[in-house]
């Protein structure tokens, strides 16, 4: 066994050899894939194994004549050759291209299902790298992270292993819109991901993928610079690397991230598939040496105590916690920016890609809101051991000299030392409407896309898609049922549905207002919504399920014991379940009256009561939809005759010929309104048929 996992790394990673590359370069266009692989294996066996065995045989059978030792050598060689064949040819269940947030969740999902996955990435040491700000979570984003966690994913665990400041946003608002945000030690986060991956069977290769191997609209592997990898499914998670160009003011550099090369060949190959593609941009601020910042002039923002945790399952052992700081730009800053604004890559017209409106550069903010004479900046530590801070709020693509100048006008940054300058990056993305709801491309079988390549932005959004793609790739390989996330059970469902139905007009980021079932989807109930479902599909292990079940049991017991207990409100006595319906009650007081310390279950019960009416209404609707979704669509139903269906919807339905309303609902571009229209039509259709049949019977 150790041979097996060891060999590819030892023999093959190190065996990048001119002769081999000749095979590859020569063979790409001339030989069928199998022959190419075979030749490569022969070559490797010959160079690496043959000599080693020969030496050993000669050593062991010192007395025998050379003809005999050669025979033994060859026999052993053939035996080992056959033994290793499977491993040598790099035959995987799945190849994940990219080691970003989409990549690691995709690979890990495949691993959870016991499949053999390879991760190919440009730089092994950057697996799990946070390319922008060192924080996980935020409004809507935390929901995604907790959902991934509830499905067995790893992003939340890595967050807790590296979290150095935790704060709950909207802590005074309702439970469904609260979000925990975690500042991470950037280095620690990537290390944690890498450590978690090391514990799995996932094989990581350092290579650049330049081509996809495709036959009959079906992908069967990828071509790297070093070698090719064959796989039943391929998941592309290449982030901002496709034709990435970085802009530092008037300077342009090709690349996907600071100091990293862009992926041009792969981009070219993808565009040859006639996929709908576009260009987006995003930006990042300069990095500053913390030791050169005068933090004493800034407002301190400490983390929350007691320190909460991101993962709902693993009990975290926290790193030491530290604070963030807040400072502001001023009129002087704005003057410098305004004077130089034409030099910004954004304004000079060099960047054609569309940037996110909610993540504007500082020059954007100054230009669009000239009346505001100050903008807030968070000084976020990059880690416990590095002397580096991330100034959140001054992302910029101004020339480095201008950045130097305006940053030093900011209070506390007067004498700061800048280590890296801010830049904007422009990159290709694939219009996600080309994807199914499993994130598989519609026109190329077994090829999945996830992450920023689909026009999203953010680690959480990327990770969520990675998991969806990984899960569905696994299901496809094993010929098991697809796993759909619904808008009504998760933000992941909202994300996938929005992307595949509506595409993107700017980098897509999650917000709670995107979820119409928001009141039902809180960051705290992710496990209640998903864990059991994903356990049944085989992506959640027994241990996780057991811990979830015991939490549920504890809650049930809490409710059983307490819901009818009498509590005092003013001079009235009420049952707890009644008392909680009044939002004005003092919850802490109630908890004391109950003599309980079980804050978690108490909060859960209180929320259940507070939102009861709304949730019941939504639940009833969801149940109705579910029932409705089982309804078969009569073959003879003519979509073009239905009033209320757009031509696009009609076309899609005619193409896909869904058998039930549920199948129709899962089609990309089919909205709930369309479904209810069709459903009404089926009712009408059934009625007339019933009448007709009746008349026939009677006459």
């Amino acid at each position: 066994m150790s041979w097996v996992t060891f060999s590819p790394h030892f023999v093959l990673v190190s065996s990048y050899h001119p002769v081999e590359s000749l095979f590859i370069n020569f063979s790409i266009s001339f030989y069928p894939q199998k022959i190419k692989i075979f030749l490569r294996v022969v070559y490797i066996a010959y160079t690496q194994v043959y000599f080693a065995i020969k030496f050993l045989v000669a050593l062991v059978f010192r007395g025998l004549p050379t003809e005999k030792t050669s025979l033994i050598t060859i026999t052993i060689n053939i035996y080992i050759f056959i033994l290793l064949y499977k491993q040598m040819i790099f035959e995987f269940d799945a190849v994940v291209v990219g080691g970003g947030h989409a990549g690691y969740e995709a690979a890990h999902a495949l691993h959870r299902k016991g499949l053999r996955a390879a991760m190919i990435t440009l730089d092994k040491s950057k697996v799990g790298q946070m390319s922008c700000n060192p924080a996980i979570g935020g409004l809507g984003k935390t929901h995604l992270v907790r959902e991934i966690d509830a499905c067995g994913g790893i992003i939340a665990e890595a967050t807790d292993l590296s979290g150095i400041q935790y704060r709950t946003l909207n802590s005074r608002k309702g439970a469904s819109v609260q979000s925990l945000r975690t500042q991470c030690d950037r280095q620690k986060f990537a290390e944690s991901i890498q450590k978690i991956l090391q514990r799995t069977s996932i094989e990581i290769f350092e290579d650049e993928v330049v081509d996809l191997l495709i036959e009959n609209q079906t992908v069967f592997g990828v071509e790297g610079i070093k070698r090719s990898y064959s796989a039943k499914t391929v998941i592309l998670t290449t982030g901002t690397f496709l034709n990435g160009i970085m802009f530092y003011g008037d300077k342009q550099v090709e690349g996907g991230r600071h100091t990293e090369e862009a992926s041009k060949k792969l981009a070219k190959r993808l565009s040859s598939f006639k996929l709908p593609m576009g260009r987006l941009k995003t930006g990042t601020p300069a990095r500053i040496k913390t030791s050169t910042i005068d933090l004493s002039t800034m407002e301190e923002q400490p983390g929350e105590t007691p320190t909460p945790q991101m993962s709902l399952r693993e009990k975290a052992k926290h790193l030491p916690q530290i604070s963030c700081f807040i400072t502001r730009t001023n009129t002087k800053t704005h003057k410098i920016i305004a004077k130089n604004i034409q030099k910004s890559a954004m304004f000079s017209g060099k960047i054609k890609g569309i940037g996110p409106r909610y993540c504007p550069s500082i020059e954007d903010k100054v230009a669009k809101f000239p009346n505001k004479d100050s903008h807030q900046i968070f000084i976020e530590p990059e880690g416990l051991t590095v002397d580096l801070a991330y100034p959140n709020g001054i992302s910029s693509s101004l020339p480095t000299k201008v950045q130097d100048e305006f940053i030093r006008t900011i209070k506390g940054l007067e004498n700061c030392e800048i280590t890296n300058y801010g830049y904007a990056v422009e990159y290709d993305f694939v219009d996600p409407r080309a994807l199914r709801k499993t994130l598989e491309l519609k026109n190329i079988n077994n090829l999945f896309l996830a992450g920023q390549i689909n026009g999203t932005t953010g680690y959480e959004e990327a990770a969520a898609q990675g998991m969806v793609a990984g899960i569905n790739a696994a299901q496809k390989i094993l010929n098991e049922e697809k796993v759909f996330f619904e808008r009504s059970n998760s933000y992941i469902g909202v994300l996938v549905d929005d992307l595949t139905n509506h595409g993107v007009t700017e980098p897509y980021r999650m917000f709670t207002s995107r979820a119409e079932h928001r009141l039902m989807l809180s960051q705290d109930n992710a496990e209640q919504r998903l864990t059991k479902i994903l356990y049944e599909k085989g992506f959640v292990d027994n241990k996780h399920l057991e811990s979830f079940k015991s939490k549920e049991l504890a809650y049930e017991i809490f409710v059983q014991e307490n819901h009818k207990r009498k509590v005092k409100i003013g001079n009235q006595t009420k049952q707890l379940q009644e008392a909680l319906k009044n939002p004005q009650i003092n919850k802490q007081d109630l908890l004391t009256q109950l003599g309980s310390t079980d804050q978690t279950n108490f909060e859960r019960f209180a929320n259940q009561k507070k939102y009861e009416g709304y949730i019941k209404r939504q639940q009833a609707q969801i149940e109705k939809d579910k029932k409705n979704h089982k309804k078969p669509i009569p073959n003879s139903l003519k979509y073009e005759k239905i009033i209320g269906l757009s031509n696009e919807a009609t076309e899609k339905l005619n193409q896909a010929k869904p058998e039930t309303l549920g199948d129709a609902a899962r089609l990309e571009g089919i909205t709930p309104a369309t479904i209810s229209t069709i459903s009404l039509e089926i009712l009408k259709y059934e009625k007339t048929n019933y009448r007709k049949a009746k008349i026939k019977n009677e006459s």
């Binding site: 409004l139 996110p356 807030q376 004005q584 009746k694 009677e698």
Partner: protein
């Protein structure tokens, strides 16, 4: 979608009749059926309509190019002489071109699909066509003129601008922008909005209440001419469109204009109703139709005169009060005395009397002067839910700390907004996030 055509004027002798044709690419057929080409849209041409070398009629013709037409597709209209033989000739010309006859409301359907009109407009067009009384038509045209939709739009916009504040306070609470300070504006504006909404709804009359259609059922033994009477009452020679008369064995429901009122006629063609049948369950469907009818026309001819009493008894036993007895085929034999109408579906004798007698069935409740829009009942549920949600939101805001209930208020506003969308039947663009970004400085 293929090309469809329909006669836009009622079938019957009249100076002119108008056919409408619509379908992408239908204009290419024009040079096949006209003696010389037409080149400009929206211009009235006089041409000869010819088919396979032979002259059909001298016609007027106007064409419209996509998307500048009612349906949004290429369309044309033909003005021909209003005689039945010419009409049926034109129908066969169109069929020869591969056009198919339009189903009810199909023109509006296409206009709706091509985003030329909204659902309420589509509905009101159908109502307008079927409306009898003039004040009803005026109220409907209030909807059709777009006045209705523009009012809904402005209500939606006001809700959206509140949602910008509320959603902003939720999704961007960690931003520099102090959304909470804007929230004090929400409650007063909500109360205003509620008042305006209620006032707007006060101007509605519901079609179903103001003007419920009367249902008239025709019964009689086979071959007495029920279908023929039905067709003539409708002023609609079905032979033009559906081939051989008297063969329809389905129930046909159709609008009927008479004296400015509308009816549904149900032709229980070929169903012989005896007392036995009524009592046996096999016929319960016809019985049910009779029970629901506001009036029944019993048709007999001379040969079946003997069955009349039996039939009448059956009908009365179903609780029908308004019964008209008709003796058909008066062209063959004139009765000496008959306790009812005697008519001829063939010649049309005495049909105006029959029509008037039936018109008495309908009683139109006049519209209230203040009611400016006539809408369908489905809207009333939607408006009720709008009001309920607004009231709910106001109640929460009055009694509780804003931040405690902001998510619930947001939900009520969202639901209110989506009910308004449902009224017009299309999702009005709601870019709350976009509005937040353009109004406030968001982002780090």
């Amino acid at each position: 979608m293929g090309t469809i055509f329909a006669l836009a004027t009622p079938v019957g002798q009249s100076p002119i009749c108008v056919f409408r044709v619509t379908g992408q690419g239908c204009l290419t057929s024009l040079h096949e059926i006209l003696d010389s080409d037409v080149d400009k849209a929206r211009v009235f041409y006089k041409r000869s309509l010819v088919w396979q070398g032979s002259f059909v009629d001298t016609v007027g013709l106007v064409f419209f190019e996509s998307p500048s037409s009612f349906t949004g597709e290429d369309s044309f209209e033909v003005y021909a002489h209003g005689s039945l033989p010419i009409m049926s000739k034109i129908v066969s010309v169109f069929e020869g071109c591969g056009f198919t006859e339009a189903g009810p409301g199909e023109f509006s359907l296409r206009a709706f699909k091509n985003n030329k009109i909204s659902l309420v407009e589509a509905e009101s067009i159908n109502d307008l066509i079927r409306s009898g009384s003039s004040n009803e038509a005026a109220a409907i045209s209030g909807v059709f003129s777009g006045r209705f939709e523009s009012q809904i739009n402005s209500l939606s916009e006001r809700i959206d601008s509140l949602r910008v504040l509320v959603e902003g306070a939720i999704d961007f609470s960690d931003e520099d922008e102090d959304f909470e300070s804007h929230l004090s504006a929400v409650l007063p504006e909500l109360s205003l909005l509620l008042d305006d909404l209620v006032a707007f709804f006060g101007g509605f009359a519901f079609r179903e209440e103001v003007f419920s259609r009367k249902k008239v059922v025709i019964v009689g033994p086979p071959n007495v001419g029920k279908s023929s009477i039905f067709n003539r009452l409708l002023g609609f020679e079905r032979s033009i469109v559906s081939g051989v008369p008297g063969t329809t064995r389905d129930f046909i429901t159709s609008g009927f204009l008479s004296g400015g009122f509308s009816f549904d006629l149900i032709d229980t063609a070929g169903l012989r109703i005896t007392k036995d049948d009524i009592e046996s369950s096999g016929i319960s469907f016809a019985k049910k139709e009779l029970k629901e009818a506001d009036g029944v026309v019993i048709v007999v001819d001379h040969k079946t005169l003997g069955e009349l009493d039996n039939l009448r008894e059956t009908v009365v036993s179903c609780g029908v009060e308004n019964i008209h007895v008709v003796l058909n085929k008066s062209d063959l034999e004139k009765p000496k005395s008959f306790p009812g109408h005697y008519v001829s579906a063939l010649t049309g004798e005495n049909f105006s009397k029959l029509r008037n007698a039936l018109a008495d069935l309908a009683s139109d409740q006049p519209l209230d002067k203040n009611q400016s829009f006539l809408v369908r009942k489905r809207c009333s549920f939607l408006f009720e839910s709008c009001v309920e949600h607004l009231k709910n939101a106001i109640g929460k805001l009055e009694n509780d700390e804003f931040s405690e209930v902001v998510d619930i208020v947001a939900e009520d506003l969202r639901l209110c907004r989506s009910s308004l969308d449902e009224v017009v039947g299309k999702k009005l663009p709601d870019d709350v996030l976009g509005d937040i970004f353009s109004t406030f400085c968001i982002g780090k």
